[in-house]
Symmetry: D2
Subunit: 374 residues, 4 copies
């Protein structure tokens, strides 16, 4: 039996909603049955109809939806929040208070205070809360984490992450690109532009893969696009508790990369490289040995994919893995048993860490590029 | 409303069934409701239960399934055939005669005669018949076809295809690998081993991308695995009606490649390269210009993916595209309207061409490596 | 003390002469002191002057050069032959008869008979004779040979070589390209076009790397260029004494590749891939282990480069290695001691093998694509 | 007629000397005739003998060499300085005062004061002074500079450079590695370790390619090797006068990279990527167009290599280009004519810029990672 999913946001013209829907469906564990797809009632209704949602479960507001679904005996098992950033907290709060588990886009919030309040609320309710840091769902990202945890590259010295896009190279937000419009608007995105939209993915990946605790950040954020209020390019240094160092270059004005997320980790006993442009491969170099190319499900690799090695998997599969694991959490909660801890699935705490990172980076940059504690 | 799918084969331990199920589900157009998942009744029932199929629609034989489903008012809209090769024709014949559209794995048949009979039957019934030549579903394979059809590389001169795996490098069929066992058994696979299992994909890709008509084949097939009855390595030359030449290297004993399908086309005015290990990219070289890397949904590219450029897509998405398009064919048929011709979706005729290729290649090789007409 | 080199051919406008000169100079073992750089006396003299050759050692004919240099006490230690193919044998014969060691471009000859006669002459004179199969000088090609000889990939099953260029995609020989003019003229090139010019490199590489003995060839040669007398595209199958199989695709009409030589070897216990577009890397896959990237001078690699790993080396260094080793042969000969056998340096016998390959391939193709013994 | 070269340093066991000698020889413009190859007289004499240098021109000290060579009518035309860093200035000063042009390794000096004094001295003497920033000699690095100068990527926004090695991942300096010993010793290397040895190359490349003027640097330098006195890992931010931003990651403890220098430039109208691991290629992305792969001597590329496109060239060729151009400078000087300005050949001023970068980076890091003006 599949679980019942509701969605807030993600109507026509939005990128994220469609991706969530495929991801939820791919492993056959979720069925979309309700939604408040847009703040525009016509668009909401039209989107619901297109998606085959019963009219009575297409809601004009997320508040109405939370109330109605909580009251139904066949109400949704979880809600997916795919709105612009500034709505994540109000929507999540509403559903959590209605007793409904949450699957939420990143960044979690537009302020540290909001994020902290949400962490508290999740703890109080005991409800499952999953943050869709999609890249943590890639098999070879998880293999990298496994190798590091097993000491295969020794003590980590340096972490280098880049996340490069080019879609804001021109000022597309003033020529009708809806995605660009809200992402470059502080009222909807919060204090960070590029640093919040993709920098958090880079930051999350660095900590997910290495397990290290970041202690300070220094950022030089720039808005290159003419008239742009939020940064579109971020040069970031990191320091970790262990003494390791890190760098992040996140940019949405880097022609040549469409969605180029790449992480390298240098350790005392080896190195790792993962590149989102070739996600099935993980380059692993044991010190003083040749570099090996590891592939999910391949020889000498612990992490399987859905398919045998050599069959490319991508973004949708990584996303679907989060939904499949979210289903496990929700089933356990519904069943009254404590879900086994899934240390791989991003939580509200990871969301708070990301918001703190954005906030500290923004402050660092405003003050001219100084070190700020995390 | 999604369509109702039945499946023959694909029970526990089979590779192909699970892939078909994800592919069918991914775009939300199909719901699996019935199956004859195994010739072993216990395994069939167990697989059905695992898949959430109602017990009454889990059948002990494909014949029983065809009869019962045809009789139901809510019977299946199509059947997916994911058995070993030798069952494709009997199963397909049974369902076609019961008036049920077919989605069938390749190769279509184990003899040219069987394949021809099936072509005739499809024509007589007028039913949709889709052959799952998965690789034709990749966006950049389709873009390659589009560029060639538009004359962007001029008249085609040479087509080079390789399809390399390594899983039969050791004699795994004698140590319990079920996939290997039937694929190396002439009784279940037909006269071709590697040439049938993956050589047909290479052959199909060559004709799909270029649209050229092959006229002759010369093959040097080898069974390197000790005691192996069917070829595991195929060296093939092709000639086309237009004067173009072609080569195929298909191997299941090539360490270093897990599922390495690669096609290059040299034309008078340019060249193309597509590599399944990096399926989002198509290398396009207009003559006397630098090579460009084209990406689905990217700049200057006609063929979209499900996601924006830079978001990797893979095998499951390509497969899902065939299922989505199959849904279109079936809906049109059910609706009584003639389906619009989808020239991209592989048909029973493509299946016949593949079987003729296998047959001719096997004969060429048996006679010492001579040219055989197609 | 460096050795003294003479050169026949290689005047202004020729590609090969300049390459030989850098290669000879790079390791400081050879000094160019004499030449018959062109059959055109003015061009010969002008080229000599440009190269700083004393006027008295700039000759109007290779015959005059051989006679004069043999008579000098400070005569050349070896002659480099860099003429069009049809002159290789007459020039080499003349210098060998004058007692002068020879460094000769490939292919050795334009007929098997000529090549056989030269083999006999070399044996009679006991003079060093080096054939410049440049690609055998690459460190990672040699590492591949070493690994195979050491059994690291087990018994070889299949050898796949391709050598792709695009410079003859248009009929440049009729618009003044001197290189193209002689290479497409049977009178100067012999019976093979592409098969002789680059196919021999592919064939030589296959045997150099594996040490296998080829027994039969089947070729489908095509002249795609309008009005072209010699093949510009070659599809070739090979059989080896050991039972191994091989394929060669050589083309000079393949847009996308400028000088794309690539070899893969599939063995029972592993596979190798070397690609001239990235010559510092050798991909090595031990069976059931991940692929490793080996680099000259790098971890776990026996073959050094001139520089530490990570410093790219290329065509000129590979060529220079042949000249450096040729110097060793010539010094040993001059010193009256028998040169230690350098099994890596291509000889007149390798040249004969190449000419037999060209001849057999041409015959195979003429007769419609049949198997011809080697 | 080739020019006469002397060398200081570069005796047996040194890396740099052999590389300089091949580079000097490759284009046939320089002949090595004199040297003070080591501060150890035996080693100096032995090295000279090995190199075929006349005993009278093998000197026990660089001072003796400068004096004697200046006095000879056939004295050297230039001296190559390939010593550890701390000797660059004293040696260069001595030869410049003796009227002899200088070709000097980087970094120019171990203090800004020394570097400034040398700039003054070069200006006073009017002598040619070439700094061997090798990477500026690569054809595709120069093509990148040309494209940017021509406005092909528009106004530059961000420059990302990395230079990664792994040879200091273990504390090899305490186990007999001579190269490591001096490079990790502040007395011989100056205040910078990795930042001086390879960070300067990265910095130089950033300015060479873009022509931008750097105004401030912030560095987080770390010595990860146990007991190591100098940094082996450098995280660096840059700001440029134009408003452009930059980042450098230089590391000698990064397993997976042997000599991995890579630069990316993001501009308003396009992007560029050059990677030393594949130096023949330059990735060029005009905005909203597919990425093109440019190759030296290839279609649509202004910068030639020594060989046609498709023939790999590497480090030695890049280095040789500096020597060939240095020969032009020295010939012009000897001829009494003012050398035409070669804006591509690195000068003493580039050396000063590099030393200022090292000094500022070291200070920034010492003070906890603050911005320091350049």
């Amino acid at each position: 039996m599949s679980l019942k999913l509701g969605m807030v946001g993600g109507g026509k013209g939005a990128f994220s909603g469609g991706v969530h829907r495929i991801a939820a469906r791919l492993d056959g564990q979720w069925e979309l049955v309700a939604g408040a797809f847009s703040s525009d009632p016509d668009r909401a209704a039209e989107s619901a109809a297109d998606l085959g949602i019963a009219a009575e479960r297409s809601y004009g507001s997320f508040a109405a939806m939370a109330k109605a679904e909580a009251a139904r005996t066949d109400g949704i098992d979880a809600v997916a929040i795919v709105t612009p950033n500034h709505l994540h907290v109000p929507v999540a709060t509403t559903f959590l208070r209605a007793g409904i588990p949450v699957i939420c886009d990143k960044p979690l919030a537009t302020s540290v205070e909001d994020a902290e309040a949400l962490v508290t609320l999740v703890a109080e309710t005991g409800l499952p809360f999953i943050l869709t840091q999609t890249y943590t769902g890639y098999p070879m990202v998880r293999e990298a984490r496994t190798l590091i945890a097993a000491g295969r590259i020794g003590r980590v010295r340096h972490i280098q992450v880049e996340y490069l896009q080019d879609w804001l190279a021109k000022p597309v937000e003033i020529s009708g690109n809806k995605q660009a419009a809200w992402r470059t608007d502080p009222a909807q995105s919060g204090p960070g532009g590029c640093i919040a939209d993709i920098g958090t993915h880079a930051f999350n990946l660095a900590t997910f893969v290495t397990g290290l605790v970041p202690t300070a950040v220094l950022a030089d954020l720039t808005a290159f696009g003419p008239g742009r209020a939020l940064d579109d390019n971020a040069a970031v240094l990191l320091r970790f508790e262990s003494g390791a160092k890190g760098m992040i270059w996140a940019s949405q004005v880097a022609p040549g990369s469409k969605n180029g997320l790449r992480i390298r980790v240098a350790g005392e006993a080896g190195g790792l490289l993962w590149d989102h442009e070739r996600p099935d491969d993980l380059q692993y170099t044991p010190i003083e040995k040749p570099t090996r190319t590891l592939q999910h499900g391949g020889d000498g690799v612990a992490t399987p994919g859905r398919l045998p090695a050599g069959h490319p998997e991508g973004y949708l599969e990584a996303f679907a893995t989060l939904y499949a694991e979210a289903a496990g959490q929700v089933r356990a909660y519904r069943g009254g048993t404590k879900p086994s801890i899934n240390i791989l699935l991003p939580t509200v705490s990871d969301g708070l860490a990301g918001v703190r990172f954005i906030s500290a980076a923004a402050r660092s940059s405003e003050e001219g590029g100084i070190w700020v504690g995390l």
